[in-house]
Every structure is written in structure tokens, then in C-alpha cells.
């Protein structure tokens, strides 16, 4: 009996350690959470994920511990010979308790998530810049307000033309679908936004550091799906202005010509 309880404690301790390790840091290159977010909406999603993890890990450990306890304590071989279990048919107060407590927990999670939903997913109008992002088989076009278009044609290796944004700028992304449904996803920035034909969709980003971030199309869109790689590059405002001037000279007409596809 004592050795069994001891074994249970060891196993339980191991599970706790594993869960703590998984929730706090990278284990052997496995990432238990998204990449460090660089845009405030991504940061809010990251925090929501962490918030949900608190009750989730507690419930996980509690229920698995209960199962382990049954396995060790109530198996027939550990019970006295001829043991007849109490023929309990239920316990109404107990059943009410384990209805109400989960109800409170999920309402709290839903409320918490809804606040974040209202904060970051409502249409915005205070953007400093708007870019029209349109997906096609198999690449992305980014059309700036001055008519410059970045054609990000897909390659599997991911060496695609970067979509360039200035730092410290609230950029609204308006999504357009031109053929099938695509989904724009750069995990370090924020969640996915679908580009659906005939259906306006939007997202936004605000990056406060210089850098390059990768992503790819997340909605199966045909044979080239895995080649629809995305690179977002953020630059200081002065570098961005220089880059934009180059783009204008490269295509002097600066007309928002349609991509050849």
C-alpha cells in the first residue's frame, strides 16, 4: 500500500513537473506557445492563451490525478477479498457542484476572451496606413495607398519578396480574395485572416521593432498551397521612405496593375 501511494506521488509529481516545464519554457526545441509576438494584437492573443492555460492545466492535473488514484487504489487486486463496493446511484448536491463550477470557469474564460475580441477584432478607423492584401493561386499582392504593389509570388523555400511596413505605424490590412479562399498567417504578428472572394475582411498590425517575420497561407488553396510563403519586413520610417521611393522608380506609372497571376 505505502509503495503504491509512493508510486502514485512520484508519477503525479512527474506530471506536475512536465506540465510546469511545458508551460514555462521550451523543452527540447518544442514550443508550448506561439513565437514572441511583435504586434499588440498578437501580444493580447498570447496573453489570452496564457490566461486559459491556468484553469486548463489545473483541471488536467486534477482529473488525471483522480484517474491515477482509481487505477492504483480501487483496482480489484488492491481491494480486500470479497469486497463489495457501495452501490451508490448518485449524489445530487455533488452533481450540482460539478455542474456549477465548470459553468463558472467557462463563463469566465468566455468573458475574458470576449473582452479581447472586442479590443482587437473590431473594425478600426484610426490607422496611419492601409494596405490591400489580395491572395491568388499562389501568392500575395500588397497594394499601398500610393498605388505601389508588392508582388509576393510563392516559392517553397520561402525566398519571396518581402511585404515592407514602417515601424511604429498602425497598418490596416484589407483582405481581398480573387480566386479561391486563402488565409494570411504570420504567427509572430497575429492570428489568421481569410481572403474570401466577394467578402471584405481586415486585420491590422503595429510593429515596433526592425525585423523580418515568416508566415504562410493557412487555407488549402490547391497544388501550390505550401509555396504561398509570406515574409513581412519592418523598417524605420526613413528606411521605409527610401524603399518606397525605389519602388516608385521601379514602376514609374505606379498604377495598381493587376498581377499576372
Amino acid at each position: 500500500m505505502t509503495t503504491r501511494v509512493f508510486r502514485a506521488l512520484i508519477t503525479f509529481g512527474g506530471l506536475v513537473a512536465l506540465a510546469v516545464a511545458l508551460s514555462s519554457c521550451d523543452v527540447g526545441g518544442l514550443h508550448p506557445i506561439f513565437p514572441n509576438p511583435v504586434s499588440p494584437n498578437g501580444q493580447d492573443i498570447y496573453n489570452t492563451y496564457l490566461g486559459i492555460s491556468v484553469p486548463a492545466i489545473i483541471i488536467f492535473l486534477g482529473v488525471e490525478a483522480a484517474l491515477l488514484w482509481v487505477v492504483l487504489r480501487y483496482r480489484r487486486s488492491t481491494q480486500p477479498v470479497g469486497y463489495v463496493p457501495p452501490q451508490v446511484h448518485g449524489n445530487t448536491p455533488l452533481e450540482i457542484v460539478w455542474t456549477i463550477i465548470p459553468l463558472i470557469i467557462v463563463l469566465a474564460i468566455a468573458g475574458y476572451s470576449f473582452v479581447e475580441l472586442q479590443k482587437d477584432f473590431q473594425p478600426i478607423s484610426n490607422q496611419q496606413m492601409t494596405v490591400i492584401v489580395s491572395g491568388h493561386q499562389f501568392g500575395w499582392n500588397y497594394e499601398y495607398e500610393n498605388g505601389v504593389v508588392v508582388h509576393q509570388e510563392g516559392t517553397l523555400a520561402g525566398d519571396v519578396t518581402p511585404f515592407v511596413v514602417p515601424t511604429h505605424t498602425l497598418v490596416k490590412l484589407d483582405f481581398r480574395g480573387t480566386d479561391v479562399i486563402h488565409s494570411w498567417w504570420v504567427p509572430a504578428i497575429s492570428g489568421k485572416t481569410d481572403a474570401v472572394p466577394g467578402y471584405d475582411n481586415f486585420s491590422w498590425l503595429k510593429i515596433d521593432q526592425v525585423g523580418t517575420w515568416r508566415g504562410e497561407c493557412a487555407e488549402l488553396c490547391g497544388v501550390g498551397h505550401s509555396t504561398m510563403q509570406i515574409i513581412v519586413q519592418s523598417m524605420d520610417q526613413s528606411d521605409f521612405n527610401r524603399w518606397m521611393a525605389q519602388q516608385k522608380t521601379a514602376s514609374p506609372s505606379a498604377s495598381p496593375s493587376a498581377s499576372p497571376g
Binding site: 488536467f60 470576449f114 475580441l117 467578402y199 488549402l220
Partner: protein, 543 residues
């Protein structure tokens, strides 16, 4: 309902082989049930082979085991086969066998509808696989989102058309089966078998049938509209039409389908746990109430598959709330199952091991479901390998583990022989380790940004994880092989089970194993929801 009773051939009862003419024409719910189950297991093997090829292709970056077009057909065929042709069909089979006998009936209410409903299943399956011979089967995932399935982007083959026809036939078959189950349960219960005494597996089948009746028709409607678009030039879901409408119609079926695939499993677990814990089920009424809570809620959550298409945030909030509320009835069931084993005398037979494996793993699928229900978090996790991991925790850790528990539990009733225990233990542990090895670390791939349904990837950082997943997936295949060997060996030469090998509670064990045609020489009296136990205690049947 019944035609004349034919003289009972010896071969009918207790041997593996029965005359083909009997299989082709039988309206016996047990034989039809067995044919459903065998069809399901064959589909499981076929769908598993598709999955292994997919895993080989993804085991390392930049592989070319198959080309992207073939890859897209394989992932679609894996999903369609497992969801439509394995889990749903197998569960219909086990219900076809068990529901009439558990309520003390002699057959289903409409035996010939049962016969027709079953034979539509191979039609549906053959229709789907015919697509491979028209230049390529469905290649847009099992969800077949428009406009990718529309003629403009998918005209190189008739794969999409054969898939749509196959699903329409499947839906008709499912609606027939559901009608039959509900009528049987309402009209053919034995004397004394009040609704309040129905076994929980039968209650689960009531809720499943209601769900399929409600959502089967919208699924067929979506397929018919898609075919109008493809063949008659309408514009329902085309680039110029409303692609999001397709998603609403599909998921109005698609999400309840998840519960169609798990509620019968919940029912089987509710049968297995009390028998091996030697205690009655804890909270019978709250178990039934929880089933119907899930039925109602599951029809109000479909758009949680669509949080990235850009819906109004209040609409998204509604679907988020309803989705999260499903955790409450599911939690009730979980706590009741654990409470049933508490203070019990728990015997860890193979079915009970699978039941506990189900509890341990399905919990993870339930908890990751909470993350996915949260709209902001879902925009990150949606369409990534996190979702693939989640859905396999629900469908494999959930449905497949319950199916395994059901197979080991009811095999003696179906064949008269025990399903070998040693191979069964191996079967359980290899499946448990292989399953968790495959799908636990898959969560991290999604968090790192690996989308689902990509034919290959260049990112070296994902290579090691994918290699481990592929190796583990072959352990699952090995485990399934053990199951098949065990079934064939035990069916032909296993240990004779006797009528009631588990000292069970319900009527399917109150007759001979295997039961005769028409199930009972004399329908036993029913005085509680554990009629067989009552008979043992009153000495009316031997211990």
C-alpha cells in the same frame, strides 16, 4: 414486421463463415450490424494506409514521396474515409447490433429499411473511390471548401462530383438508420423497459439519431447546390457567389457530426465502466440530461470553424460562448464516470483499459477545445497542426478508444468467443503509446506556425518533430495489425465465452452468446436499468 421464421442453419450461430446468400439478403439486425462493423474496420485500414503515406511525405522537409496533387487527394481521402466510412459506419453497426437486443426487441422496427440503408453504404464508398479513376479524387480536404471545389478551379477530374454524390447517398443511408433507431426505441421496448430504464448506450443512440436526422439533410443540400454550380452553371458558392454560405451549410452538419461520432462512444463507456467497477452508473439522470444538453448545444456552435472569415464580433462571441458551454455537460459525464469507479472494485480488463485510455486522452482533446473556442486564440490555432492534434485527440483518443473498448467488450456476445487477452494488452499499450507519440507533440508544430494540409515544408526546425510523429504513426499501424490478427484468431479459435462472461448488467447478455435470430427465447422481465443484474440477484439466471 417479420417474415416467416426460417429453420435455423447450424452455420448461422457460431462459426466465422456463413453462406454468402445469407449475408446478401439478411434483414437480421445483428448480421447487418456485423456487416456495418466489418465495413467500418476495412475503411479504418484503408484510411490508415492513406495516413501512413501522408506521414511518410511529411517525415522530413522537401520530400517528394508523392506530388502535391496526389497529396491533396490523400489527405482528403483519409478524412472522408475515417469520418464518413469508418467511425460513423462502425458506430451505426454496433448500434444496429446492440440497440434492439438491449431494449429486449427481436429486430429493428423496419428490417428492410435497415437492409437498404446498409447496402447504400458500399454504394457510397464505391462512388467516392471511383473518383480516383476519373483523373483524381477529391483534392480539397474532407471539407471540400468552395470555390476550390468549383469547376473553375477543379475541372481536371470528376473527383469532386463523385465525392458529392457519395456524400448524398451516405446522408440518405444515415437518415434511414436514424429513423429506424428512433422508431425501434420508441415502439419496440420490452415490457418494463421504460425510458427511465434504457441503457445509457441506447440513450446515446437516441441523441445521435436526432442529430443525424437534423443535420443530414443540410449536408445533402450543400452537396446538391455544389453540383448545381459544377454541372448546371449556377453561382451559389463560386468566386462570384457566396463561398461563406457553403461553410455555414457544411459546418451545420460538420460540427454535430463530431458528436455523432462521439456520443455512441460515451454510451459504450457508460456501459463498460459500471460493469468492471462493480457499481451502478453514477448519476443516471444527469448522464441522460448531459447527452441532450450536448445535442442542443452542438447545433448552435458550427461557426466556430469560421472565426477567421471575418464575421461580426458579437456573432463570433455567441458561437464562442455556446462552444465553451459544451464543456459543462461533457464535464458532468466525466465526473460521473470517475465517480462510478470511486470506491469500486475495478477490474482492468482490456475493455476497461481502453475506457481509461479514453478518459485520459479525451480530456486533452476537451481542454484544447476550450483554447480553440476562444475566438482570439483560435485565429492563431485555426488550420494549424494544433487543430490536427486536437481533432485526433477527440476522434482517435475519443471515438477510436471507445470503439476499441466496445469491440473487446461485445466481441464475446457477437461471436461467442473471447477476444484474446494477451494480444489485447499489447494492442492497448501500443495504441496508447503510438497515439500519444503521434499527436501530443503535434500541438507544438501548430504553435510554431506549421499549417495543416501543406504538401511539404522547407523549415528545418520542424523536421525532428515530424520525424518522431511519423515513427509513432507506424506504431499505431502495428497496433491495428495486432487488433486484426486478434479478431481473426479469436473469431475462428478463441476461448468460448459463455453467455455472460463479464457479469454484465444489460439484456444483450441475458440470452445466449451469440444470440439466436430474434434474440430471445423468452424476453426477460425488466425491473430497473440493470435488468440482468436483477435476474442474477433474484436467482432467475445462474451466476
Amino acid at each position: 414486421m417479420a417474415t416467416t421464421v426460417l429453420p435455423r442453419p447450424k452455420a448461422y450461430d457460431d462459426t466465422f463463415f456463413k453462406p454468402i446468400s445469407l449475408w446478401l439478403t439478411t434483414t437480421d439486425h445483428k448480421l447487418i450490424g456485423i456487416m456495418y462493423m466489418v465495413t467500418g474496420i476495412l475503411s479504418f485500414v484503408i484510411g490508415g494506409v492513406f495516413a501512413l503515406i501522408v506521414r511518410l511525405q511529411l517525415s522530413q522537409p522537401n520530400l517528394k514521396v508523392v506530388d502535391p496533387e496526389t497529396y491533396n487527394q490523400l489527405i482528403s481521402a483519409h478524412g472522408v474515409t475515417m469520418i464518413f466510412f469508418f467511425v460513423t459506419i462502425f458506430l451505426t453497426g454496433i448500434a444496429n447490433y446492440m440497440v434492439p437486443i438491449m431494449i429486449g426487441a427481436r429486430d429493428m422496427a423496419f428490417p428492410r429499411v435497415n437492409l437498404l440503408g446498409f447496402w447504400l453504404v458500399p454504394v457510397s464508398i464505391l462512388l467516392y473511390y471511383s473518383g480516383f479513376f476519373t483523373g483524381g479524387a477529391l483534392n480539397a480536404g474532407w471539407t471540400g471548401y468552395a470555390p476550390l471545389t468549383e469547376k473553375a478551379y477543379n475541372s481536371h477530374s470528376l473527383g469532386v462530383d463523385f465525392w458529392a454524390l457519395s456524400i448524398i447517398v451516405w446522408a440518405i443511408s444515415g437518415i434511414m438508420a436514424s429513423t429506424n433507431f428512433l422508431t425501434t426505441i420508441v415502439a419496440l421496448r420490452a415490457p418494463g423497459m421504460k425510458f427511465s430504464r434504457l441503457p445509457l448506450f441506447v440513450w446515446a443512440q437516441i441523441s445521435t439519431s436526432i442529430l443525424l436526422l437534423v443535420v443530414g439533410a443540410p449536408l445533402a443540400a450543400a452537396m446538391i447546390l455544389l453540383e448545381f454550380d459544377r454541372q448546371l452553371g449556377t453561382q451559389f458558392f463560386t468566386t462570384a457567389g457566396r463561398p461563406v454560405l457553403y461553410q455555414h451549410l457544411f459546418w451545420f452538419f460538420g460540427h454535430p457530426e463530431v458528436y455523432i461520432m462521439i456520443l455512441p462512444g460515451f454510451g459504450m463507456i457508460s456501459e463498460v465502466i459500471p460493469v468492471f467497477a462493480r457499481k451502478p452508473i453514477f448519476g443516471y439522470m444527469s448522464m441522460v440530461a448531459a447527452l441532450f444538453g450536448i445535442v442542443f448545444l452542438s447545433m448552435t456552435v458550427w461557426a466556430h470553424h469560421m472565426f477567421t472569415v471575418g464575421m461580426n464580433t458579437y456573432v463570433e462571441g455567441f458561437f464562442m460562448l455556446m462552444t465553451m458551454l459544451i464543456a459543462v455537460p461533457t464535464g458532468i459525464k466525466f465526473f460521473n464516470w470517475i465517480a462510478t469507479t470511486w470506491w469500486g472494485s475495478v477490474e482492468f480488463t482490456v475493455p476497461m483499459k481502453f475506457a481509461f485510455g479514453f478518459l485520459a486522452t479525451f480530456l486533452i482533446g476537451g481542454l484544447t477545445g476550450i483554447y480553440l473556442a476562444s475566438v482570439p486564440v483560435d485565429t492563431q490555432l485555426h488550420q494549424s497542426y494544433y487543430v490536427v492534434a486536437h481533432l485526433h485527440y477527440v476522434l482517435f483518443g475519443g471515438s477510436v478508444f471507445t470503439i476499441m473498448a466496445g469491440i473487446y467488450y461485445w466481441f464475446p456476445n457477437i461471436t461467442g468467443r473471447m477476444l484474446g487477452r494477451t494480444l489485447g494488452e499489447w494492442n492497448f499499450w501500443t495504441l496508447f503509446i503510438g497515439f500519444n507519440g503521434t499527436f501530443l507533440i503535434m500541438h507544438t508544430l501548430g504553435l510554431e506556425g506549421m499549417p495543416r494540409r501543406i504538401a511539404t515544408y522547407a523549415n528545418e526546425a520542424w523536421a525532428a518533430t515530424n520525424a518522431i510523429i511519423t515513427i509513432s504513426s507506424f506504431l499505431i499501424a502495428f497496433s491495428v495489425l495486432l487488433l486484426l490478427i486478434n479478431i481473426v484468431r479469436s473469431w475462428s479459435s478463441g476461448e468460448i465465452a459463455g453467455n455472460d462472461p463479464w457479469r454484465a448488467n444489460t439484456l444483450e447478455w441475458a440470452t445466449t452468446s451469440p444470440p439466436p435470430p430474434y434474440n430471445f427465447e423468452r424476453v426477460p422481465p425488466v425491473r430497473s436499468f440493470m435488468p440482468l443484474r436483477d435476474l442474477r440477484e433474484s436467482g432467475e439466471v445462474a451466476e
